[in-house]
Structures are given as structure tokens and as C-alpha cells.
Subunit: 474 residues, 2 copies
């Protein structure tokens, strides 16, 4: 346990009082994320309640050379929120203010610690929602810092398209307001975008103005089975050409459907499958869209597995999709999981999916392959016994080959999970000389390398010394 | 006229041969843009035919300390493409290659000099189009460099949302490829976005990969008159809540309708007016949207002036909107024009429009007020006799007060025209300390201040010495 008295701790305590903790319970609660096998215990935790607390923490960091790693909800999958040795974990969950909803401009300003589902509950009575849905109940600061996206990105875009403005505290004590509630601007450099996806390595986001969208008056869903992945991709392109832009367009591979059938006693066709949600003005609107979806599916050899319009019926239809994780856990009780994600240009998607399945097969592994197919975004849900180091090494091989392939075909090593610690190794291949420019940008904002050091543009050969090949949590 | 022999000219000629010109015709053709009253004759013009030519020009710039200002189509309205004294105008219109259209990924890669209308002609047989439409037949490099947007931005976004990737040549000779054909990424800092809107001050964009969209199967248009601007704004918000997101949503003030009526012998209600285009899958789809549009308009006191479904009928309906410029020119023959644009949060739009009309009145001026109302983006089409310095001074006052107001209400001094020379004065008020950070970023990419110096983040008090208060072109 860290002892008080070495200077920076006293300085933190002096400025932040009991909002600083070195209790092992608090430190351990900030030592793991939801996706990486590392245990990274921070030297202290600051429970910030305000932007002033963030600035006070950064002042101590600057004066004493103490690294700081922001913490939102801890739902990161790539290690973005894990503290370096000796670092302070800056817990931002206390910055939880939600401003007035602007029903004309369709914006709301929230503290960086506000979580997605809490905001959407509050927006529902206004007939509005915030569309970006990464699955986890992440904080908006974390979602912004990793440029998160998810199921609805095919229609609404990700965080870069839906953050109108943000405030960010810099290491030198300045607070910048970037962007505005105006819906567009050609005024100056896009610094706002620079912080979206920077994972706390350039500054600490303290609040965000979010773009809201009207809840669709009516929705409907359909489940479609295809003879092969390529047919599913082409059907999704065809339907766009017919004037239908779905709300969600989710893919699962055939073997996973088999596993879900077993787990749920279902009899769905064991084929590459799409779940599609469409939204419309009224019943006739979604009826017409469903007809075009069927037409597009049939054109590419697909068949309708199920269709649903009432909310409960839609939930039942999507239940098979949402059962993927449960089926995995039921089939492999006690296994640890690791989710790898890549994103490729749509013409490369079918081959990338095929490669993923071949890699699994070649390494004697099974894993659900799920994807946001309209974006070209694929996930492998890897699993193994926590202590089976050899299995985890094979998993590493598969995820490595998949990420390298995605970059080689002109895609990206991380579609929506961020870089954190584990995707740093692919940035040179993906960005070339631009990686050096990113490092120059990092040095501009953080010359002392105190803001979430090592992450994103850090040296990928320097794995954290506390690396633990045995996953710490199932 | 510039003489050969002072070093850099010889170096340019040696590396670029007859693609360098100091002929006065060529230099004069690069001395004006479409919106500013300056005459800025470059020291030479390089007619680049390739990325290699761009790099050769930048190498000479670096070695001899010669400033370089990129030139696309010269359609800038704020002086972004005007060369500094002694600068080389780098004409990129020769980088006009158009790559294969990707019908699955919905992308195409184009040279920076390709123009908007030429590309859309080529895309039409594919059933695709590139939606960003700033009005002028601009080059894609210029549109990217000013983060241009326009009539369709309410639905499709502007350049930041529609440039998938770009190549940019840096002053130090590196060429970065930023972004990819993958539809999303969380990999590293958003350098691509930094160049979108940087107006050639950080590097020279040489090619772009653009996101394409399916041409809507069916469209229809409606013209609506409202008792006041606020009602038009609220109707546009209401209709979105009903599930209708128009393709275009164009506003014109009452006095301008009066002028168009006179010019075209029309009898449209002389009231704040919206033209709305909706797109759908089929006739029934647009019929339903038109019904909701009428409903939303009537809810806010609006009335339908006209409605059109056949392409020719739609063109006739929009003719009144497109006649604004003609009516202006007919009413004030020989006048020079200057278009100022601002963008404000939607709740501030009606007051901003009212202020614009009051400012005109207070200064004894008339000017059409037109806007992309779904974005909160307003334009004043100012006009005066070219040699009436006193009138131009009043025009400056109006545009100044409007830009200052837009910033004061949380908007931006330039919604889509860029900063260039004339909007620099508002960047401190709009961005605060972020302007200093922008200048740091400028210094990082251009330590010698050779890339379009003076623009965007340049000192606004230093007006170009060649300023001519008498507009050089009508």
C-alpha cells in the first residue's frame, strides 16, 4: 500500500481532502477493466466531483511529475483506463450533472461521468434519445475518449458525429471549450475531433454537449439467414440502394447460431444471420421497408427467419442475438473472455469473416463472430479457462492475425474499442508516418508524458511490467 | 512582373519545367476569389499535375523560404486561396484523376482538383452521388480544406462526415494517408479531421476518398410560407420529430420573396419562406412525408405555397429560390456582392435572423437573407456599387455585428465558408484559449510559416498590405 508523505500524496490530500483515497478497496476497484488481463493497481484514486477537482489533480501531476489516468465507468476493452505503475486513477464518475434538454436544438450538456442508459431514461419523456450504443453502460467521457460507436452507428454515426462540443482540461491548467451547439462550423482547426478518440492522453474531458435524435415513431425487426457472409453483406448494400437505412444491422456467424439454438432450444437455420431493425413514421412506412428488406435478402439467397412489429415481439426476436454471450457462458462455464474488434472496407468484409473462422479452426478454438455489418465491423468473442496460458497464447495469435489482416486490406485494427495497450502494435502498419505526427501531437499537449502515458501512441514493445498472462477476472 | 533568377524561381523551373508560370495572365487568374475584395497577385503559379509536383513545390518552398498557397477552383468566399505577397499559387486543378467507383463500400478516390459537378455526372449511372453541395462548382480539395457544407448537410453532413480518407503532403516532404475506406475507426488521433478545415495552412491535400450515397429513388418538394422566422424554425424541428428528415430545407426572408416576385412576376406570399425537398423509396413514401410536412407547417401557422413531384415541376418550384441571385443582380445592376455566413444553435436562429434584418435596416441596406435552416446557417447576400467605399464600410459593419452576435450566442462566425482572411478577427472570441492551441498546432506542422501563411490562425490585425477596399470584381 502506498504511504502518505512522499510529497504528491500530501499535495493531493491538501487540495482534494477526502476525495483522495489510497484504500486498497478503492485502488483495486480501479485496477481492472472489462476486457484486458492486466491488474494495474493505481497509487491513489481521486474521486473528482467537479472540473476544479480535475484541474487540482492535473496541477499536482504537473508539479510532482505524477502520471494521471482518467477513469469513467471502467468498461474499456483494450486497457485505455488502466493506470500506469505509480499513476493516479482520476475517477470522473462524480461529474454527473445533466443539463437542460434543448428540445429545439436537440442537445443536452452532461458531465463526463454520466452514463448512457441513465441519460436515455431521462430523455425518453422528451421523445429523444442519444443513439451511440457500444453495448456496455459506459460513461460519456469514456465513450468520447475512445470514439465509441456500436449497433446504431450505421444510421447515426459514432461519437465523432454526435458530440457537438466538449470541455477538456489540459495538463497546463487551461480548460478549452471545443465545438459548439451550432450544428456545423468551418471555423479553425478541428481540435474537438482530436480529443475524441485520444483516450485521455491529450487532456481530460470534463463535460460534453451531445446531439440528440427524435425517438423513431415506429420500429420493426426482421431476422434473416443467408447462404454465406458475402450474401449478407450484399443484401445490406442492396437495401440501402432501395432507400432503406436500418437503425441496426447485426451479424452472427453460423456456428454461433448453432450454439444459441442448443442453449435456447431454438431451431433457427444454422447459417450466417442478420438481425435488422428499421424505423419509420408509421406502420405503413415500416411495412414498406420490411418488404424491401425481404426483397433484398431474397435477391441474395437469404430467407426470413422471423419478423416482429410489436415491442415484445421484437424483443423476442432479438433475444437470440442477445443470447450469444449467455450461450457462450453456458457452454464454457468459468471461462474468461476477450473481445477483439476490427473494421474493414465493406468489399473486404466477407473475406475477413472467412479468415476469422479459418484462424479459429487452425488454432483449435471456437468463438462467436458477431458484427455491425453495415459498418464492416467484426468482433471475435474469445474464451478460455483463465489459467490456460497456452490457450490464451493461441487466442493472442488469432486476434493478432485478424488485426494485421484488417490493416492489410485497408481497414483499421480497432473499429470501436480504442487502442489502449493492446492495439498499439498495429498503429505503425495502419498509419505509417502519421504515427510519428500523432506522437508529435502528444508531445505538444503532454510534454511531460503524464496524461495516461503509454497508451495509444506509446511504444508497443513496452508491455506493462505488471502484465499478467493469466486473466485476472473471468 | 517577377523576374527569373532569384534562386527559388530557377529551382522551381528546374524541377517543374513549364508547369511553372510567371506570365501575368496566369498570375492574375490566381489573384482573386469569388467573395473577397482583394487583389493578391502571386509571384508565380505552379500548375501541379501530380503529387510529385506538389512535393517538388513544397521542397523549393522549404529550401528557399517561399510561401505557398494552394488553389483549387478559386471559388472561396473568404480569401482562403489568395496568395500572400511573394507567394507561389499552387494550382491543383491538374490533380484530376477519378478512381473506380466502389459499389459495395460506396467510396471513390479522387484527385484534389476534381470538381463536384463533374464527379456527380460520373456517379449518376452508378445510382450514386456525393451529397455535399456548397453551391459553387468547387474542387474537392478546396471543399475539404474549408470543411464545406451546404444545402444537403441537414441530412448527409458536411465534408468532415463524408471524407473517408485523404492524402496530405507536409512541408517536410512526408505524405500522410489519413483515415481509410473502413466506415469507422477508434485507432489513434483524428489527424484527418485536423486537415479538414485547415485551409492549406497545415499541409496540401492531394487526394480524397469520398463516401458516396445512393440517389434517392423518388423526391418531392414543397414551398411553405410562415408568419415569422421562429415559426419556420419550429416547423422544421416538428417535422423531424414526426420522422421526416428532409434532403434540403432552405430559408428565404420576406423582403427577398418580394424582390423575386417583382423580378419574376410571381405572386408568392411575401413572408418567411421554406423550400423543402424530401426523398423516399417510392411515391407513397414521399406522399406520406409531404402530408407530415403540411401538418407540421400548419401547426406553426404556415401555409403551402406550392408542391411538386415530377422533376420538372420540382425545378419550377425551386426556380423562385434560385432566382434570388438573379433578382438581386437585376434590381442592382453593376453592384458587387459579398456573402457573409454565420451558424447559430437552432434556438437562437430566429433572433439572429431578426437581428440581421434590423442591422440592414439600421445601416440603410437591403440584402437577401437566405439560410440552411435545419443547420442554423444564415447568409446575407450584401451588395453595393463597387466604388462606393462608404457603402462597403456599412456592409462591413453589418457583417461584423452579425458574426460577433453569432459567436456571442454560442454559434460560429463561419458556418461553411471558412476563415480565410476576414473571419480571423472572431476566432479569439469564438475559441478562447483554443486559438493559442491552434497556433501551436500550426507551428508543429509549419514551423517556417510557409503554408498559406496569415490565414485561419494568422494575426487578424495584420490585414494584407494589398487590401483594396474597392471590390476588384463585381
Amino acid at each position: 500500500m502506498t504511504e502518505w508523505g512522499s510529497g504528491w500524496q500530501d499535495a493531493l490530500r491538501e487540495r482534494l481532502g477526502d476525495r483522495v483515497s489510497v484504500a486498497s478497496g478503492d485502488r483495486n476497484a480501479h485496477a481492472h477493466d472489462e476486457g484486458t488481463p492486466y491488474t494495474c493497481i493505481p497509487a491513489a484514486v481521486v474521486f473528482a466531483q467537479s472540473e476544479a477537482d480535475v484541474l487540482a489533480t492535473l496541477a499536482v501531476a504537473r508539479e510532482y511529475g505524477v502520471p494521471v489516468t482518467p477513469w469513467g465507468a471502467g468498461t474499456s476493452l483494450e486497457g485505455a483506463a488502466l493506470p500506469m505503475p505509480g499513476a493516479v486513477s482520476l475517477d470522473l464518475s462524480g461529474l454527473d450533472a445533466v443539463g437542460e434538454v434543448d428540445p429545439v436544438g436537440l442537445t443536452v450538456t452532461v458531465g463526463t461521468g454520466v452514463r448512457r442508459t441513465a441519460l436515455n431514461r431521462r430523455l425518453r419523456p422528451h421523445g429523444l434519445f442519444f443513439p451511440v450504443d457500444p453495448g456496455a453502460d459506459a460513461s460519456f467521457g469514456g465513450m468520447a475518449a475512445t470514439n465509441a460507436s456500436g449497433t446504431t452507428t450505421v444510421r447515426y454515426g459514432g461519437m465523432r458525429e454526435n458530440v457537438a462540443a466538449l470541455r477538456v482540461a489540459l495538463l497546463d491548467g487551461r480548460v478549452l471549450t471545443l465545438g459548439s451547439a451550432a450544428r456545423k462550423s468551418s471555423s479553425g482547426y478541428a481540435l474537438k475531433h482530436l480529443f475524441l478518440g485520444s483516450e485521455g492522453t491529450l487532456g481530460v474531458i470534463t463535460s460534453l454537449t451531445l446531439r440528440l435524435h427524435p425517438l423513431p415513431p415506429v420500429t420493426a425487426s426482421v431476422q434473416l439467414a443467408f447462404p454465406e457472409v458475402a450474401a449478407a453483406v450484399l443484401a445490406s448494400v442492396t437495401v440501402r440502394g432501395l432507400g432503406v437505412l436500418p437503425e441496426r444491422l447485426e451479424f452472427v456467424d453460423a456456428a454461433t447460431i448453432r450454439a444459441v439454438n442448443r442453449h435456447r432450444d431454438r431451431h433457427d437455420p444454422e447459417a450466417p444471420t442478420l438481425w435488422v431493425e428499421v424505423a419509420g413514421r408509421d406502420g405503413a412506412d415500416v411495412t414498406a421497408q420490411l418488404a424491401l428488406l425481404r426483397e433484398a435478402a431474397e435477391l441474395h439467397g437469404g430467407q426470413v427467419v422471423g419478423e416482429a412489429r410489436a415491442p415484445e415481439a421484437q424483443s423476442a426476436l432479438w433475444a437470440a442475438r442477445h443470447a450469444v454471450y449467455d450461450a457462450l457462458r453456458a457452454a464454457w462455464p468459468g471461462h474468461g473472455t476477450r473481445i477483439g474488434d476490427v473494421c474493414v472496407p465493406l468489399p473486404a468484409l466477407a473475406d475477413t469473416a472467412a479468415l476469422a473462422l479459418r484462424l479459429l479452426d487452425g488454432h483449435g478454438l471456437t468463438a462467436p463472430l458477431v458484427g455491425h455489418i453495415g459498418d464492416g465491423n467484426l468482433h471475435l468473442l474469445m474464451h478460455a479457462p483463465p489459467d490456460d496460458a497456452e490457450a490464451w497464447a493461441r487466442i493472442d495469435h488469432v486476434l493478432h492475425d485478424l488485426a494485421a489482416h484488417a490493416v492489410a486490406v485497408g481497414g483499421t485494427c480497432t473499429g470501436e474499442h480504442g487502442v489502449g495497450l493492446r492495439k498499439r502494435a498495429y498503429l505503425r502498419a495502419e498509419h505509417g508516418d502519421a504515427l510519428d505526427v500523432m506522437r508529435d501531437v502528444k508531445a505538444l499537449f503532454d510534454p511531460l508524458d503524464l496524461l495516461n502515458p503509454g497508451k495509444v501512441v506509446g511504444d508497443p514493445d513496452t508491455l506493462p511490467p505488471w502484465r499478467n498472462d493469466v486473466p485476472a477476472r473471468p
